[in-house]
Symmetry: C2
Amino acid sequence: MDPHIAPVDLAKAYRLINHGPTVLVSARAGGVDNVMAAAWACGLDFSPPKLTVVLDKMVRTRALLEASGTFAVQVPTAAQLELTRIVGTRSLADDPEKLRQAGVGLFEMPGHDLPFVSGCSAWLACRLIPEPHVQQTYDLFIGEVVGAWADTRVFRDGRWHFETARPEWRSLHHVSGGHFYAIGDALDARA
Amino acid sequence: MDPHIAPVDLAKAYRLINHGPTVLVSARAGGVDNVMAAAWACGLDFSPPKLTVVLDKMVRTRALLEASGTFAVQVPTAAQLELTRIVGTRSLADDPEKLRQAGVGLFEMPGHDLPFVSGCSAWLACRLIPEPHVQQTYDLFIGEVVGAWADTRVFRDGRWHFETARPEWRSLHHVSGGHFYAIGDALDARA
């Protein structure tokens, strides 16, 4: 594993997505790996950490995570802007070469049979909490975070360091149609 | 109403929160108004637009929106950093003067019996879609967006203009413990 990648205490895993980045969702089933972008991912609980993600009925990644009951959520960086756009707009069903064309590299985390995307800033391994009514009615999926890691060049000591890391580490925040904002300056409210 | 505030087409209302800002949730019932901060708010659907928000069982705003079946979600600005911290950490139950002490000003939108927070950049009026199991088990509330408005100094023509607006208009993205990031630079992926 990349020596820059370090585990994150599960009690602090929510901090990896609390600032609302667009994420990459990946899943594996039946020998197929896929990765998609999702702007609608959100924290749900602290302990055990949970999150929600919205997955349209037409996306292939949804079928994979429904089959395996597990998925990964990762935080892409400004350096991955094009990758994020491509995996968010092309479908594996139409384009079997999607991941290669998007420049997605995958790696493994010991103990988790999931495809993790190389070059992200943070990774969350999730176990699907089945809620069939919610999944069917709202396309909303609930995951319990069972593993968390971050690249120590931008997240360490339980917090993000965007303000001192290189700009290409900034998280991406999609508005619409390929128009994103990077995360910006740190602002600390008085205690 | 403030002449800078203009309606946003409901088809584009998702764009007001798609970049993952920390929001203010407000509700009114029985003559009581309250406002709280929530980092866990997220888009859920485009048409009709829906969103989710996580509200702990101990927060007063939750009881108000459960009673009225309506709530408002608004996007606070960097200028409202202290206000956002205060309404996110103090409870109306403990501190009846919470809103005054936080410097919250409220205003009305015609046709909506809800307390809207002055000085925000965007406002969404929501109708609660009751899902008792989801609310009780996960503290997760689903709203249909029935009205949307934005301050045209930072959102107009269906998009955010953070890159040209004054810095105090930037949205806030909470990590933990009063540590926020402002939204940053625009990044456009190739079409």
